[in-house]
Symmetry: C2
Subunit: 185 residues, 2 copies
Amino acid sequence: MREAVDLKKAYRLLNHGPTVLVSSAHNQKRNVMAASWSMPLDFDPPKIAVVIDKNTYTRELVDGSGEFALNIPGRALAAATVAVGDCSGRDQDKFEQFGLATFVAGKIAAPLLEGCVGWLECKIISEPRNHQLYDLYIAEVVAAWADVADFSNGRWHFAAGRERSIHYVAGGAFFETGEAFNVDE
Amino acid sequence: MREAVDLKKAYRLLNHGPTVLVSSAHNQKRNVMAASWSMPLDFDPPKIAVVIDKNTYTRELVDGSGEFALNIPGRALAAATVAVGDCSGRDQDKFEQFGLATFVAGKIAAPLLEGCVGWLECKIISEPRNHQLYDLYIAEVVAAWADVADFSNGRWHFAAGRERSIHYVAGGAFFETGEAFNVDE
């Protein structure tokens, strides 16, 4: 069951470095792209950083709307993660193309992807120099969600038989998020 | 055996989102801290982004020297990763405190940590607004290294019985980098 994540704990959705899908919408258009290059940037209010190349259609929608969502896919969406990274949303609606179902976000217009394990709704903090020079976007996380079967009380606890988050390498190769272990503090 | 990583493939050391140890040196002082918040930022020349809090001693050394290294620890260094995140190098030499051996970097003064699976030597690109407002540092990767048993031809291939990279969650909890799998492109 999908539930809201306490915003102070939203960084923990990304702290382990999973690959994300960036969804966006503007002027009746929508798109989704894959991004390996994202990270938390602050706790409270939570901020994240993500690289959005200036050649992408996502870049147009994100610049137009000032918003995007980071969707955290599990292994069942790995093929779709590669596929949406290999084509442009200028030419087609990738959601229809790849049969990706969506649901409505709480605080932004971008659609959220069904079948993911976590979601962060983000509003851009305008930093034009970063956008232009580095394709780097900083955004505030305004809402976050996770399935309580996978993430609760600020912790991931991927169980056997559940989807786990994934980490892209290159050329269609991924690592799954692996074994959990603890070190005494 | 440690070998140089082709700089165009250096981003792949970080692409899967491992936790890193940031090592630094300035004016006969050295330090090491843990960082979950880092990511690749560009391919060629390779750049990375990392968050270095302004309250840390590392921040002083990094600002003073303009350099740092990202060391990618395996699970055997997980306890040390938590330990160096729980104290300040202002009060002690953490390398001595925690018995961390080092070796000399190729292009920067910061020491590199023995026992890691990969290393990126970085020179800061000065972006004072990012430093001040977001504790965010962008740097060019000027040299990179990995053990060829773990990383070769631009790919991680963690084998059974070898150290794997790790992904910090919170409170001493980690995930190991998990199962490798491929999606046809």
